[in-house]
Symmetry: none
Subunit: 413 residues, 2 copies
């Protein structure tokens, strides 16, 4: 199997001024072509370092994909350093020079001598045209191995990859097998328990790599499935799916990129039900998540964020006496909030959250992270108490997740 | 000068599922300590690869900082691989085991045998406590060189770096000159205009590097200021501050890590005012942001998310006729919402947002991205129309930012 390395060049990456998003984008693209990326490396704009890095990379990897440092300024040194590493001289590529000239003409700007530098490319290299900027990319074959250089700016890199490099890579390294990444999203089990439940699945499905990814507060189970043709791929995906669904059951709320708020929304729409939400400690996060989904107005009636006692009383009819007796973070108040929003809306389900997000405001009896979630329908209300740990953000996020998951599980019945 | 390398470990980075933000964050932090990072390297969860990578890195770099792969699962292999690279055996660290046990006890969960693995650490290593999760970090001195391992999850990594590693690095590698990163947060000007306004500031302040960082929808201006002692540093910071504040004026809303919602909250508290919010297209995001700040109950009275016409009428008293005449995304409805939430709450200011977040639901007259924001006090209401571009998420975020900024500017007067 072909092994690739991505080399990113630029001081702005090493000072942390720019986050390297190219590495992730290209890794995903290459994987889909059946070329796994096995390393990312970032170095600065230093000639010797680039040269040495490329030389070493070519000893270990089949495909060396380099981004950045193709600009017109003095500290753009990728092309000359790569050529030196390969022992190939630079020569003027007239077509690229013409292209650069044309861009300057089009923009009505004067071309600087340093822009000409961008048209000097390694002799014999295959040129990758840049439709969004002046820097051409290039590709050099070194036996079966390949070195490619692309610009670092994502808006130039991405079209060049898609239109110029991808077809050449497909031709040069035809995929021997199909690869597909499948993700199962779970909530409600700690990562280590998911791991324990799935133990041995690697042996069972030798055609797949698998791993867990914590994405607070969810745990995602990912399989990279190999197959020789699409029929085998579908059959293998179905086998993995059945087994994982059997082992993790209702803890799986979605697949692929499906967010919990999307799953809940789809269920509400399918059942023709509307939801209204009363939030205290989550402060609007549940409503925010629900309304991130296009079309949520079909099933989301309204939300209230009741941060003060009077807001709970005015907007939800929570009796003052109830708050005085039990405190606003309590089961009875959560139940009254859920019933209150249901009665005062056009919804079929009322969801309420009250708790202490912290970091202060806790007590011995009700520590930070104490959260009550209640869900009311026309006939009953179900309330449950939780204790979460973490920062204010984490407690808000976990509370919103638990609340949405309660609705999901209610709709499963 | 000390040279550092950052090594990130995890298959999720190599498949492109996760963007490596840790590399940028840590590079910035280390630079501020006077330790330039000269390479970033990412490898997968493969024992031999990690081991070989660490061995090589130690030949070239003074500080080898490793993140990721400290979790409890089988594919977390960093600790054992690093120990092997250093030729040091693992041994049980009882204090860490106790800490892990205590976390499980606190959460009322059963500890799995694989969680114990996290307490096996290289013999003689200095332990870096994890206050946000179960995985301890550690630091091993190899002569003058240092290897550190930290968890990959940013919410665990960042406090561990700040509280545990940073003081130790400062002690081990005292900076020859002082460096401080200063950030000014702006909103309301495009990045290119901020750039133009600051042109020439690099020549003026030769003791500083500066750059812009787009952080949608804000633009942050960053200066890395060098000085030989703390008096000089303070004096230089004051000079930069005065100049930048002069050039950018009220477009600067905060400094350092100050979020807009924090700045707005502090102003409200200082003026003894309370805010209530009525949201349509932002769907709770404004309330969510406000309540992310500890103590927001001091000045945030309540919020309503009025996604349906009936919610606007019931909760805010927006006349049905007004919605019929102008549509729910209109200036008159935004004004009525702001006045409605003010009249029906205990607040001094009523903020309202209505718009079309898209991607569908727009028309020729009111395209996607049309947003009205109104701010009412006891004597008047001010409404303004905006047109934003972008995805649903971006339009929600931009709208929430504009709304909060309106409150900030109101309170400046």
């Amino acid at each position: 199997m072909i092994r690739a390395i991505l080399i990113s060049i630029g001081e702005e990456l090493l000072t942390g001024t720019v986050v390297n998003t190219n590495a992730a984008t290209l890794s995903e693209e290459l994987l889909a072509l059946g070329i796994p990326v096995r390393a990312h490396l970032t170095v600065g704009d230093v000639r010797e370092e680039i040269q040495e890095t490329v030389r070493q990379a070519l000893q270990e990897f089949d495909l060396v994909l380099i981004t950045g440092g193709l600009g017109p300024t003095e500290d753009d040194r990728t092309t000359e350093s790569v050529a030196a590493a390969l022992g190939i001289p630079l020569e003027l590529h007239p077509e690229s020079l013409e292209r650069i000239r044309a861009i300057f003409e089009y923009l009505g700007r004067t071309m600087m001598p340093n822009n000409e530098r961008q048209a000097y490319l390694p002799r014999g290299a295959e040129i990758l045209a840049n439709n969004r900027g002046t820097a051409p990319g290039f590709m050099v074959a070194v036996g079966r191995r390949t070195v490619c250089c692309l610009p670092g700016v994502p808006s130039e890199l991405q079209p060049m990859f898609q239109q110029e490099l991808k077809p050449r890579l497909l031709q040069r390294y035809p995929a021997k097998e199909l690869l597909e990444l499948v993700t199962y999203r779970t909530f409600g089990l700690p990562e280590s328990e998911v791991d324990t439940l799935l133990r041995g699945i690697g042996q069972e499905f030798s055609f797949a790599y698998w791993g867990l990814r914590a994405r607070y507060p969810e745990t995602h189970v990912r399989f990279l499935i190999r197959a020789s043709d699409s029929r085998e791929l579908e059959e293998r995906k179905a086998r993995v799916r059945e087994r994982v669904r059997h082992l993790l059951g209702e803890f799986i709320f979605g697949e692929g990129k499906e967010e919990l708020e999307k799953v809940v929304g789809d269920s509400l729409r399918n059942r023709g039900l509307k939801l209204a939400v009363a939030e205290s400690c989550t402060g609007g996060l549940v409503a925010d998540r629900i309304t991130n989904i296009l079309g949520s107005s079909d099933y989301f009636d309204r939300g209230v964020v009741v941060y003060s006692h009077s807001a709970k009383t005015d907007l939800l009819g929570v009796p003052v006496g109830l708050i005085q007796q039990y405190g606003s973070v309590s089961g009875p108040v959560a139940e009254a909030m859920a019933r209150g929003i249901l009665a005062r809306s056009q919804a079929d389900l009322g969801l309420a959250i009250t708790g202490i997000a912290g970091p202060s405001g806790g007590s011995e009896e009700k520590p930070v992270g104490t959260v009550h979630v209640a869900l009311a329908d026309k006939t009953k209300v179900e309330e449950k108490k939780y204790l979460f740990r973490g920062t204010r953000d984490q407690i808000k996020r976990m509370s919103s997740e638990v609340a949405l998951d309660r609705v999901r599980r209610y709709l499963l019945k």
